[in-house]
Amino acid sequence: MKLIISLPKIKIPKITLPRITSWRIWAAMLSIFMAAGATCGVMVLWKGLSLTNLTDLVPWGLWITIDLCSIAVSAGAFSLCAVVYLLRMKRFQPVARTATFIGLIGYSMATMTLMLDIGRPDRFWHSLVYWNEHSLLWEVTMCVTLYLGVLLLETLPIFANIDWLRDRWPRLAGRMSQAHQLAPYLAIAGLALSMLHQSSLGALYGVLIARPLWYRPDISVLFIISAVASGMSLTVFASMLSAWLTRRASVDDHLLDRISQIIGWILVLYLYFRFWDAWSMNYTYQPGRTEGLHLLTDGPLSFNFWVGEILVGIIIPMILLLNKRTRALPLWRMLALLFVVGGVVAYRWDTNISGLMVVLSYLPGDPNISYASYHPSLIEFLVGGGIISYGLLAFSLGVRYLKVVNHYSTVVHVLQPESKAMEQLPVPAGD
């Protein structure tokens, strides 16, 4: 007997490493941050909010700020849609399209952050069912939910642009494109809902009599003006950056120049209200309010306030954007727009934290004020970083595959296959 052992021939597969491109590095980096954020998010859901550095004195922190900011920078969607469909300046339509896509990302970021930030994420639907019409937070929740629906409808035509969707289900893609017919109505709904909740996010703080620094009507006005400025700025900035980095994006610089000028004027309005708001608080001593104001003007938040919010956030970009020569230079314009967004982020952070840091005692007698402190924990940072990375990746994918920054495509929404061509295409059943 012979034992025949035949060894299989081992084929060494040829390993081909994917080519390293800057796009892949970017996507991989964001994915790593997202994975870290998701891991920490699961830990928070599992272990609870004790993993954060939030306390009963400072129960709202970094995540609320991310929430406020991602909603603020999404305000380009409603404002530019209103410009296009209600003021009937149709030429801005491609920019509004970018803004709407950013809006969808921003609101989904806010929803994710909120889900982690509330103590009982399993009960998030309670505010949609058990209405307390007196609560601004209820109003904000309803508006954000409804507006997320509006944004989904508004972005349907963008998603109809996915190549494989158009090949595979052309009729579905056609239907999705047709949601464009609703655009004027959606613009009205978006304007109404956004005017409500963008202001209410400020009013949410402004109605609290327990917090003298917040208890003033101006916050709601400041919130909506700053939101529109930052939302438009992010849209223009992201469009310009995309066009600079990739050939998949193309911009009509004339449109962006016009919008940048408008942002400059919005900043004038914002500075005007901001000035009187801060100035008027300066005159009489009111326990808690004066201390809170001092946190901003000469306390631990003074750098944020003077440099971040006022100088870099308003004055410098206002000059750069209103001056025709600097506005015409892409680098200066982009810098200015980025400053506006940064300034509004600083404003949201300062607004939230300054009101919480001042602890006004309930004890009788002289006003007894102490200060609470808050530094976000590593987990809060990682979750926040993950959510921001999600936003960046979603936008990058949109630029790459959905052509969300494309000012020269005239057939954006009318990608309807001809009816004859449609008959020839195999249409799957149930579609």
Binding site: G48, R120, R123, L136, L137, Q178, L208, A210, Y362
Partner: protein, 257 residues
């Protein structure tokens, strides 16, 4: 293409249906369990805390922890030293103020904080989503969030009493309830809250010096009505207009500014 176009009429139809469904859901929702009036019978419960008597022993906090099964990390009732009168330390105990115009009730997005007709500000722990807006809105710091699960034994039990209500889960806000469970049960048994110990908040019952009184202010002959008629009293941060249901009798006869 034209048959697929949504015209104005269709849009309005769709919108009407949407709004109707949304509004209809409001009629279908269950009534809030805790917002049912319950046995109020025209009562208005108030607490009167006599700072001249309070020695700052903190028994009230411990009895509260036991009867309401409160975590050692949380105090529904905080006792603070506020100063001295005639070389005697003066303390201020702070339960929930049960404000008539409670900011927490207004701001809660889900009606998890509600004002009962008898003046008690109640929490519905099954409804709270843990957004902590009420905590930010409360001028008295009377609310605590359950940052982590309270598991394991309650160190205040059994020395200071037995738990009478369910322990709150992680992720909801909790606060003093004027021991509503004792009041409601007591009234059902025909007892008088404030006079009968079994129908009176645990902190009032345990106080060794009788610094706390509890009763019905809508009854002019009740213990608290008489006390508030005869003694000078004040409430915390009255200027805010919250109209608390907790009154303090100052340790000094000098009028408070």
């Amino acid at each position: 293409m034209s048959e697929n176009k949504i015209n104005r009429r269709d849009f309005l139809k769709l919108a009407t249906v949407g709004v109707t469904v949304l509004a209809g859901s409001q009629f279908l929702r269950q009534p809030a369990a805790a917002s049912e009036p319950g046995p109020s019978g025209g009562h208005k419960w108030v607490m009167v805390i006599d700072q001249a008597k309070c020695t700052g022993c903190g028994y009230c906090t411990l009895a509260c922890r036991a009867h309401n099964d409160v975590s050692p990390d949380i105090s529904w009732n905080v006792v603070t030293k506020t100063g001295q009168v005639d070389n005697q330390d003066v303390y201020l105990a702070r339960p929930c103020m049960h404000c008539a115009h409670a900011p927490c009730v207004d701001v809660c997005p889900v009606h998890a904080s509600i004002s009962r007709p008898d003046g008690i500000v109640m929490m519905d722990y099954d409804r709270c989503i843990g957004c902590r807006y009420c905590e930010v809105a409360c001028p008295y710091g009377a609310r605590s969030f359950n940052w982590k699960e309270f598991d394991g034994p309650n160190p205040a039990v059994p020395e200071w009493g037995q738990p009478e209500i369910a322990r709150r889960p992680r992720g909801v806000v909790e606060k003093c309830s004027f021991c509503f469970q004792r009041i409601d049960r007591g009234l059902a048994l025909g007892l008088t809250p404030g006079l009968d110990q079994d129908a009176t908040p645990a902190c009032v019952v345990v106080c060794p010096v009788g610094a706390r009184q509890f009763g019905d202010i809508s009854d002019p002959d009740s213990n608290v009505s008489k006390l508030l008629r005869n003694r000078a009293s004040y409430r915390l941060r009255e200027e805010l207009g919250t109209s608390p249901h907790v009154f303090y009798l100052p340790a000094t006869e000098e009028p408070l500014s």
